[in-house]
């Protein structure tokens, strides 16, 4: 079993793992020839299934496995991965490989950084020549290296970060499937996530404070609704308050007819559209969980929300690819709706 790759886009990778880690600490990672899939299935709350095209974050990617389809399955803790990638943010290059250290499997991240050693090189030169580490030969290797240095050569530090992982057998992950959701009633492109998050978080906090003395200690619930005429509503209602934010003029993307079985007009979304702008598909979601989901905004993707009325909300976050190849990277969030 072999896996080795350079990281082409450290920042994107780091943002991805940060977004994912807000929902769960351990990810199931499935690597194969075409994609890297990160899955988070927390005990409660939103599931994420992220499928990242290899080219968007990696290059010089090699994988070799005895498992079917050349697949490697790993269980990967996200906080150490995040911490490790933080070391790489200013790196000149970074690569990752699956290996064993002291008998335990690790993902080893090798980072090459150029060190800032202002004034230190001069120090090194003067002190070294004085103290002499046994090498008194003025024509030895050491003398030449020091001279080079004084001329301002860049020096690099190689940082290796070993992240513990568990290698999973193919059949142990066979039973894990992406959730199945019925045909959604509404599709809509979400407005700027930073705006949506600011408003959502504010609503959540307001609800939390206004219901603090009431019977329900549960996390505040937000009501999110969309129609097929470019409208999105975010609403909270408690005994004390009732607030609503409405967006209009958003886009309801067209479905690709080729991907739909039967006629487009048969779909629930077509029926909702026919009922006009006052017909809404509604979900009730957990405010805190929603806040974590929206942290994916840092990925700067295009987000399409699919509403299955009173049932579930699915977010598709499409990432713009490095070289806009055929393969797309998409993060899918499955958010269930709470009943009233």
């Amino acid at each position: 079993m072999r896996f080795k790759t350079s990281i082409r886009n450290i920042q994107t990778f780091s943002r991805l793992t940060t977004s994912l880690s807000s929902l769960g600490k351990v990810a199931w990672v499935r690597l194969d020839d075409d994609s890297a899939r990160f899955t988070i299935i927390p005990e409660t709350g939103t599931q994420v299934w992220a499928s990242i095209s290899i080219d968007s974050i990696f290059e010089d990617y090699t994988i070799q496995s005895a498992a079917p389809n050349n697949t490697i399955n790993l269980e990967l803790p996200l906080p150490p991965l995040n911490r490790a990638l933080r070391s790489a943010l200013n790196a000149s290059s970074a690569s990752i490989r699956l290996t064993k250290k002291d008998g335990a499997p690790v993902l080893s991240l090798t980072i090459i950084t150029n060190t800032i050693s202002s004034g230190n090189s001069a120090n090194g030169f003067l002190n070294n020549s004085g103290s002499g580490s046994g090498n008194q030969d003025p024509f030895g290797d050491n003398a030449f290296r020091e001279e080079n240095l004084d001329g301002g050569r860049d020096r690099e530090a190689i940082v290796t970060q070993d992240i513990p992982v568990r290698v999973l057998q193919a059949d142990s992950v066979e039973g894990i499937h992406e959730p199945k959701v019925r045909e959604p009633d509404a599709y809509i492109v979400l407005p700027s996530l930073i705006q949506l998050k600011a408003i959502s978080d504010r609503f959540t906090r307001l609800t939390a404070t206004s219901t603090s003395n009431s019977t329900s200690k549960a996390s505040p619930k937000l009501e999110l609704a969309a129609n097929m005429h470019g409208g999105l509503k975010l609403r909270v209602e408690t005994d004390a308050l009732n607030i609503e934010s409405v967006w209009t003029g958003l886009t309801n993307p067209d479905l690709d007819p080729g991907q739909v079985e039967g006629g487009l007009e048969e779909l629930p979304s077509a029926r909702l559209k026919a009922r006009g702008p006052d017909a809404w598909a509604r979900v009730r979601i957990d405010g805190r969980d929603w806040g974590k989901v929206l942290s994916v905004g840092r990925m700067d993707g295009r987000v399409i929300a699919c509403f299955a009325d009173e049932n579930a909300l699915i977010l598709y976050v499409y990432l713009s690819n490095y070289d806009d190849g055929e393969e797309h990277s998409v993060l899918t969030y499955y958010i269930s709706s709470f009943s009233v």
Partner: protein, 441 residues
């Protein structure tokens, strides 16, 4: 009249705060020792494996420094010492640092500290902070009259040394994640590697909770000076190291490290205007008994060994260097069995807890207890030696004068003025705690 009076300018004030923060990472209490020309702040951690000290030069660090030795009976003491709960001091100094960018209204102009002690007087450590607009804040803290315990570092045997810019070092340390325990320092072929790791062995899904293991490989030219035995693994506590480097990195200075071999202390020093910082850390790591003459105990035990003994094991035993003062038999045995040359990365080390700068008397007996009945010989080996006569001390080159000085005259009977020369103030490591107490009683 106060025994001790000193005044801090705004800059020294914030430097003192930084030092207190650093000391706070080692111990809850700090010891203060004043003499006519300097003030020494020290802290020793609870497991006595790390010692921190800041020496503040009287006329350089302070804008005014005055020490009036207290008189006990007819004789004047030449030193004053006390112990203060660090949190109390920190809360006085906190957030009042000198910061030219901050609002000027709350800025401090100077800080006057005086210590009152003596018969018929309340013993108080008085901090008077003079702020702008004539605001004066006075804090009166209580203290305990306890002599500090100093760790001793023998420079003579420390043949490994390196020094490096504190800023560069801080940059490296920032790569270390949280949760690791040990830091291994190793050099080979002009490359130095610093590895932060933990020895905890986890299994099952727990393995994912294993902290990040970080190795930083750098050229020795990164160092201002580097003169270290090749392929020597030396292991210290990564937490202590981080605490030190965090403080050292505040100013752009040169950190110098001195050490001899694993299981002997390492000294880290750096200085800033008027302030000398010194840290002594216990080290662990693989001991290679290269230059060590076999100790009498070990060789005696070795000769008693049956000839049928496996050669490898016998060899490693005769090579066995002095163990740490408080090493448990299990540890020694493990080391002996593991002494095969290992490549980097370092092998997991047994628990660090046994390594202290001082010996603790209480659980010493327990430490000598057998851990494993199967290996009687190792037990015999260690049980034959009288601990007191055991030459296997952490500070093996301790000279007779020093050890004699343990039982020397108590410090308050008068003595020299320089702490570096006063044997009574310098306790070589590996003394029994009871002896330490005895001096000052």
């Amino acid at each position: 009249m106060a025994i001790l009076n000193f005044t801090l300018g705004p800059e020294s004030f914030s430097k003192l705060h930084d030092a207190l923060v650093c000391l706070g990472k080692f111990s809850e209490a700090i010891s203060i020792e004043a003499s006519h020309d300097k003030l020494v702040l020290t802290a020793l951690n609870t497991s006595k494996s790390a010692y921190a000290s800041f020496k503040l030069t009287g006329n350089k660090f302070f804008s005014k420094y005055q020490f009036k030795p207290p008189t006990s009976g007819t004789q004047a003491k030449d030193k004053f010492y006390c112990k203060i709960y660090n949190k109390a001091l920190l809360s006085v100094f906190k957030g009042r640092g000198f910061d030219p960018t901050r609002e000027k209204d709350t800025a401090i102009e100077k800080c006057e500290i005086s210590v009152e002690d003596g018969e018929g007087k309340k013993s108080r450590f008085v901090v008077k902070i003079v702020c702008r607009h004539g605001v004066i804040k006075t804090y009166r803290l209580t203290f305990e009259s306890v002599a500090p315990m100093h760790a001793f570092f023998d420079r003579a045997i420390a043949r490994n040394s390196w020094s490096i810019s504190s800023r560069t070092l801080r940059e490296f340390v920032e790569h270390f994640g949280s949760g690791t325990e040990q830091l291994d320092i190793y050099s080979e072929d002009g490359r130095v590697s610093l590895t932060s790791y933990t020895e905890k062995i986890m299994s099952g899904s727990e393995i994912l909770k294993q902290p990040l293991r970080t190795t930083i490989a750098i050229d020795t030219l990164e160092f201002a000076e580097f003169s270290v035995e090749e392929q020597l693994h030396i292991v210290i506590s990564v937490k202590d190291f981080k605490s030190i480097i965090t403080h050292a990195g505040i100013t752009n200075t040169i950190v110098k490290a001195l050490y001899s071999r694993p299981q002997c202390p390492m000294q880290l020093t750096y200085s800033d205007e008027g302030m000398t910082s010194e840290f002594i850390l216990m080290t662990t790591g693989e001991v290679r008994g290269l230059s060590q003459a076999p100790t009498p105990n070990a060789s005696r035990a070795g000769s008693k060994r049956p000839v049928t003994r496996q050669p490898l094991e016998a060899k490693s035993n005769s090579e066995m260097p002095p163990p740490p003062a408080s090493a448990a038999p299990s540890r020694v045995r493990e080391d002996a069995n593991k002494r095969a040359p290992r490549p980097s990365p370092p092998p997991p080390q047994p628990s660090i807890q046994a390594n202290e700068l001082f010996m603790s008397q209480n659980d010493e007996d327990r430490r000598w207890d057998p851990v494993n009945d199967d290996d009687d010989e190792t037990m015999l080996l260690w049980d034959t030696g009288e601990v007191d006569n055991n030459p296997m001390t952490m500070n093996s080159s301790r000279n007779p004068n020093q050890s004699q000085s343990i039982n020397g005259p108590p410090v308050n009977d008068g003595g020299d003025s320089d702490a570096n020369l006063i044997p009574t103030q310098r306790l070589p490591p590996t003394q029994r705690l009871s002896e330490v107490k005895g001096i000052f009683d």
